[in-house]
């Protein structure tokens, strides 16, 4: 997107828009960034790997998704999880090769239960049933 901004400034400066600068199709845009294209990865987060097995009794870990590369749509105050997921889905439909689907649906997540110690060695079994997604899309 920073690239776009620079082009935007160029455009302001010159009276004639450069050929294709604004007319770049999303596919072209992404092609030019092939090596940093937005990709979705799966990762298993092991609490043991984090060295937390002395206070998290169960589960052993959990599966997560994340993306790296230049995702087209930065989440900010103007775009909430729902809009982001919708836009990400639309762009994915137009360019499924380079733009992954949204990382999660903004409304419903898996319910998980976690069993862990607190500082006083009390044990807490907490059910996280209605988890609200704070951020969505491809992050």
């Amino acid at each position: 997107s920073t690239g776009g901004k620079r082009r935007q400034q160029n455009r302001n400066r010159s009276t004639q828009p450069q050929d294709g600068s604004m007319g770049l199709g999303v596919a072209d845009y992404n092609n030019s960034d092939q090596k940093t294209a937005c990709r979705r990865h799966e990762l298993y987060v092991s609490f043991r790997e984090l060295g937390w097995q002395d206070w998290i009794i169960a589960p052993e870990g959990y599966a997560a998704n994340y993306c790296d590369g230049e995702c087209s749509f930065p989440l900010n105050a103007h775009m909430n999880a729902t809009n982001h997921a919708i836009v990400q889905t639309l762009v994915h439909l137009m360019n499924p090769e380079n733009v992954p689907k949204p990382c999660c649906a903004p409304t419903k997540l898996h319910a998980i239960s976690v069993l862990y110690f607190d500082d006083n060695s009390n044990v807490i079994l907490k059910k996280y049933k209605n988890m609200v997604v704070r951020a969505c899309g491809c992050h």
Binding site: L43, G61, F117, N120, N122, I124, L125, K126
Partner: protein
């Protein structure tokens, strides 16, 4: 995760870089709503009675979630009573299903001896409920004691076990007590004893100054006061997996209004 919560073998398991690790820790702690990483005082790295009991609850919930997911897939409903589960009674499993949090509390203090010559043997137990998050209400609470068989010492003897809530303490005489439950036990009995302390726990939660703990006393059939240890009740010097503890089931009593973004 596939339909029954198993991790796909296809997931890459790779070491996190320290920066990613720190980010992941921050994210997980924020999801768990914890200000920092807890530092429990674990004895010998082994689980004592409360974590073992809670792990059983966790496995019950997880297997129920799996069978519910499976049930949805196959269209059948699971029933959650397994004889091996300590929560075999329907009521307790209903509490577990309804609860959004369950907490076990470590016993903070134990007195085995008589404070005043004329006082009967008793054992005191105290639990710190200050860690309970605001807005959580106790739906059920149990005090659990393990009793071992002592028939080799008290052949054919029965004991009368009494559990009291300490209402007021005095420096120069016995505390004021409120009898919660009395139960007759055989010397040969062995296993976990559960006592319903839901009302007491709610009082402690609403008015912490009244949290003066519990007292347990035992008498022989002839009414003679006897030390609870002699009668087979396991205390802080007994086996880790038989330590006394309290467990409480909670349900959020307030509805959180999510701020609009």
């Amino acid at each position: 995760l596939d339909g029954n919560n198993e991790v796909h073998p296809g997931f890459i398991q790779r070491r996190l870089r320290t920066h990613a690790k720190r980010e992941m820790q921050r994210e997980i702690l924020s999801i768990l709503g914890l200000p920092h990483r807890p530092r429990p005082h674990l004895s010998h790295g082994k689980f004592n009675s409360a974590p073992l009991f809670m792990l059983d609850l966790y496995n019950t919930i997880s297997s129920d979630e799996k069978s519910q997911v499976q049930g949805m897939l196959d269209g059948y409903q699971s029933t959650l009573t397994t004889q091996s589960s300590p929560l075999a009674t329907y009521q307790e499993t209903a509490f577990l299903n309804d609860a959004d949090m369950v907490m076990s509390f470590v016993n903070l203090v134990e007195y085995d001896s008589k404070l005043f010559p004329q006082q009967r043997h008793h054992k005191e137990f105290k639990f710190n409920l200050s860690q309970i998050p605001k807005g959580e209400a106790v739906t059920a609470a149990e005090f659990r004691l393990y009793k071992e068989c002592v028939s080799h010492t008290f052949h054919n003897e029965t004991f009368l076990l009494k559990v009291y809530q300490v209402v007021k303490e005095h420096s120069d005489r016995e505390a004021d007590l409120f009898l919660l439950e009395s139960r007759r036990l055989w010397a040969a009995e062995e296993g976990w004893l559960e006592f319903d302390i839901t009302a007491t726990s709610n009082l402690w939660l609403m008015s912490p100054v009244h949290n003066l703990g519990l007292q347990v006393s035992m008498e022989t059939s002839s009414g003679q006061s006897i030390s609870v240890k002699e009668a087979g009740l396991v205390g802080h010097d007994g086996a880790l997996e038989k330590q006394p503890f309290m467990v409480a089931f909670f349900r959020i009593s307030e509805v959180y209004i999510r701020t609009a973004r």
